[in-house]
Amino acid sequence: MALLARLALSEEEKEMYTRQLRDILEYAARLNELDTTDVPPTSHVLPLSNVFREDEVGEHLAPEEVLANAPEREGGFFKVPRIV
């Protein structure tokens, strides 16, 4: 789970979080008391559909603005350590 979430945890942290998560999930299991067989899920509370924008080019950020917050950069690029 920690790898999926990209979190590096110490052994103690792993123990603590496991315990806390288990408590919370047990609590969450209460939901199973409810019969939701024919109930549709609500992913969106607003009954909106088909919201679009037109195919027009708008303003870009200037490259300096784009890179201003970059922790590491090289020229016009963001720089990251090796992938593999």
Partner: protein
Amino acid sequence: MSGYEAVIGLEVHVELKTRSKIFCSSSTEFGADPNSHVCPVCLGLPGVLPVVNRQVVAYAIKAALALNCEIAGFCKFDRKNYYYPDMPKNYQISQYDLPLARNGYLEIDVDGRRKRVGIVRLHMEEDTGKLVHQGTITTTPYSLVDYNRAGVPLIEIVSAPDLRTPEEARAYMEKLRSVIQYTGVSDCRMEEGSLRCDANVSVRPIGSRELGVKTEIKNLNSFRSLQRALAYEIQRQIEVLEEGGRIVQETRTWDEAREVTLTMRTKEEAHDYRYFPEPDLVPLVIDRAWVEEIRRTLPELPDARRTRFMEQYGLSAYDAGVLTATREMADYFEECLQHYPEPKTVANWVMGDLSRLLNAANVEITACRVRPAQLGQMLRLIDRGIISGKIGKSLLEEMFASGRDPEEIVREKGLVQITDEGALVAVVDEVIAANPKVVEDYRKGKEKALGFLVGQVMKATKGKASPEVVNRLLRERLH
């Protein structure tokens, strides 16, 4: 083969050529300076939200219709969660369980047989940014990221595992490219990345109904790579099975240089994309009126156009196929016919000399300086005997380079064919006098010798003599 058959499915990504990206108004134009076509949304800054580009949906529907798909009445976007530095949000907005279109098909021709390949689904999603490495991805000490491409609209087209050979796979790709290109929603160029392909391949004993374990093959940069990679992988899998081994379900990369597929070893565990409906977007209700409106904008598609070319113009299947390979080429051809209605002649010139010039100069037919009207004009000049066919070839080159009218060039360069016998007789006699041995050969029965003499007359007249007249005169004079 060795009692095994291959089962191949292709996943194709096509970049749609809208002006702006799928979820923001940044430009999709190719080739800009790094990170110059980005905005807060496609950069994935904190707090931003996506808004769907209507034209992307329209283009996707158009492509789906061209592929005979059923368009969903209701579809939505989902988040596909995974981490990678070219993903600004570390999730991709895609479509999971309710895609835009399903159940289509594409008909391909392989070895004279027609085969229908099923298309399972077509959906919309956003593209990622680009990584630049020093050297290869495995040897580089660091990587650079450019987000210009992040958010460019893609459609993903998944075929059914109906393909059985690398040739069929290639035919499918070529046909798919042609069809999509005809609709105008994408340029479909593998070399530019607007058409990308991953292959899923497995093998099984002939006659078996079960599917073998499949591997996924990536890094296929051309149709040729696709074909070779599949051939290699099929062979590899057969060899593994025949030695009693098992196929590992994995992703492999095609190594172009060594012409082998290799395991891609990554730290990534089995992908759990944790799909869930995109809460920042609302669902799409696609009404039939909109679909029909888009259907009306579909052009005559490649197969139909090729058939018509064969029937209407009496062209061979091969010629019709070449001329309808791209919509632009077919349009050009038919526009030429408006000016010079002799299909076979036009076909020969377009497929022959003109295509040669286009390829050598790496120019698209749409940028060809020879306009259809001008080609027609040139062909009429030949018809009227004003220039010879041979002159026509070099005239075409000049037209291609300059874009000028043939009549103008002919006038300027004095290319008018010399047909006047009086003018030619003198030259003919000179050539006869200058080549006694050849004349003798001809009189002894060597037809080829005449050709040499004709050539000499042409040379002396700088190619302007009418070959027919010269031929006739020589024969007359030599008897």
